[in-house]
Subunit: 394 residues, 2 copies
């Protein structure tokens, strides 16, 4: 049989991270490659009770088809519990439920991108977003990340020069992969530029609540007075990712179009997952659970950074993230971390080579390291193994 | 703000059925409009136990991220329990899990359709498929349905004339909306034509197991020796649709591409939904449950057809389906069932006007009637109300 894929399908490639995860499930490998939350923190007993009760008490609804826009009760809970505390005001017609944030990224691509359209992305940025958008054939324009977030001067320069992107995609808090957070000053600048140049901003916010510092910075969406920021949230990092629940907050015209896209794409997010989440959030205080997660992750982060400091050659630099799941290390310009990974695997330690986080490639001397999903002991051991591999080059 | 949607997004419209469902939730309306399974048949107590056990015993996996291709155990169960009995042989690399069959339809469109590509569809056909494909800009070629399935002579004529579609989409069993089943003879003819003209067939099979006749006809996929049939299955009609679980069976090259598409689209189907389904199918015999569903639905079908026979004007024709969820009625050529629906709602009865099931529109004198999700008494009452509305025109 002759297989005649669409141009779109030919552009789509396997995600490097997902393929890597397959290599790193062997128990003797210490993997800093994933982006998994710590499963030992899932409140299993509580969720088990909630699941059973939901099925027994509301099963005819919880297991039936349900509205495309998502369970109303869950949307109300997200508005009152997750959005209000970060100063985002939203009505019911300004939020809908997705099957995780990845789905929202696909829908953003589907909704905005014609082949050849320009998209502004941070450099580096989340490779799952790059893969999602790629299907729709955009031309990526990379804007450098600085230690306080996207280079807004460079952004302004590009906009002034007449470049008109379909949107700017940003992860302002504890960015994946870099761990960098955008300063309040830059968030304000971004909104001013967006209003001036009629720019749509996609604010992807999976990590903001995993904040180790004393205060979270307000989301860009909370500064948006013109409905031009589309805000993506999720329970994947603060509750569980196995229930696939994310949300999109935006102006009602956009939300309505998103819902139409979802009708054709998967009808709805799992009714049961939504009911379980809604009931859990009603009975328990997610904020308390998040406090526990922060406590564990911030310790792991510190252990990772301390071990890097003690064992990495001093010329290797890395970000000291104040939240989220990742740190991002930079080695010598002439080193290729893909080749390094092969060596690291021989030492039973894994990470994600940084190249795929750059929309247009070409930067090979970075690596993403995850600290959320393993014990402090393993982090120490894994970083020491990695140091052995890296320091040989210095 | 100026909203600059993609051409694709501009093509996507709200599904008429989903919008209608909103109108018909009022309790006094008897709605034949949906396509919902009977929620009172869901085995709630068993599923509740399974859910609780799965979370307590395997919760760290059941609530964590899981592989894009789907839970291996569930794929094995589908192969041995659902596919082998209909003579479909599949290895593990020939099946992957989707978030319901609707997602598979979206992926089929994403995988094959470039703007302007020709797609062959039955006339009428499932409007959710039309909407899913539409996003990718195909040109639909309609092939008439006869009482024993797609018009294979017309198909041959089109293929002979040199038309080269990206694929043929068919629902061979108890088709949505028509209730028609393709004969074995036509299935064989279809495979011969497909092999001769290098045609890809999408076989959408959500209803085949809801067979009221003594014997199910073998799926087209079971006759496929060249890996050119992509077979779509689902638990939505035989178990529950609220757990969003479907599957795609096809040759490994295609399955691999589907998995890449899913990576960018939603990473994975709900881990919990998959674990619950796998554990339920291990503990209980789904075939026994299906027997119960068939018993209830076939009685409801008979009540609907008997009441139509007794009350509809004899010039109104309709299909006598041998399975599935629907019958399909035809009224006078000059009647528009969209206008009739408005009148019917005044009598507190609803159905889906047939026009949207025709890929290129233009046929307004059909209506789809669902009998699966309400009591025999309500079916009688609803059909009598509908007869009152329709018979006025005769």
């Amino acid at each position: 049989m002759n297989i005649d894929f669409s141009d779109r399908a030919l552009r789509i490639k396997a995600s490097e991270i997902r393929e890597l995860l397959k290599l790193t499930v062997q128990p003797n490998i210490i993997s800093f490659a994933g982006g998994l939350p710590a499963a030992e923190l899932f409140p299993l007993a509580d969720i088990a009770d909630v699941a059973k009760d939901v099925i027994l008490n509301e099963g005819q609804s919880a297991l039936q088809y349900s509205p495309t826009e998502g369970l109303q009760k869950l949307r109300e809970i997200i508005i009152s519990q997750r959005l209000e505390r970060v100063n985002i005001k939203a009505d019911l017609d300004e939020i809908f439920i997705t099957s995780g944030s990845q789905q929202a990224l696909d829908y953003v691509g589907k909704m905005f991108i014609n082949e050849g359209d320009k998209i502004f992305v941070e450099s580096p940025t989340y490779l799952g977003a790059l893969n999602a958008f790629l299907a729709y054939g955009p031309e990526y324009v990379e804007i450098p990340l600085q230690c306080d977030g996207i280079d807004t001067d460079r952004l302004e320069e590009l906009l002034k020069s007449g470049l008109k992107p379909k949107f700017l995609y940003t992860i302002p808090d504890f960015q994946n992969p870099s761990g960098i957070t955008m300063s309040m000053e830059k968030r304000k600048k971004l909104i001013v530029l967006a209003n001036e140049y009629d720019l749509v901003i996609i604010e992807d916010s999976p990590y903001a609540e995993l904040c180790f510092a004393s205060e979270q910075i307000r989301p860009i969406k909370s500064l948006d007075t013109e409905g031009r920021v589309i805000y993506l949230g999720t329970y994947s990092k603060t509750f569980t990712p196995g229930l696939r629940i994310g949300w999109v907050v935006g102006n009602p015209v956009l939300i309505n179009k998103f819902i139409q896209i979802k009708q054709g794409s998967d009808l709805q997010t799992s009714s049961l997952d939504q009911r379980i989440a809604a009931e859990y959030m009603t009975r328990f205080d997610l904020n308390k659970h998040i406090t526990k997660i922060i406590d564990v992750y911030s310790k792991r982060r510190t252990v990772m950074l301390d071990t890097m400091k003690a064992h990495f050659h001093p010329d290797i630099t890395y970000t000291e993230s104040d939240g989220g799941l990742f740190t991002w290390a930079k080695v010598k310009e002439d080193m290729d971390t893909k080749a390094i990974l092969a060596e690291a695997l021989l030492e039973n330690v894994a990470f994600v080579p940084g190249a795929s986080f750059f929309a247009n490639g070409g930067k090979n001397n970075f690596m993403r390291l995850n600290y959320s999903c393993m014990s402090e002991e393993k982090i120490r051991e894994g970083i020491e193994r990695l140091a052995k591999v890296l320091n040989k080059y210095y």
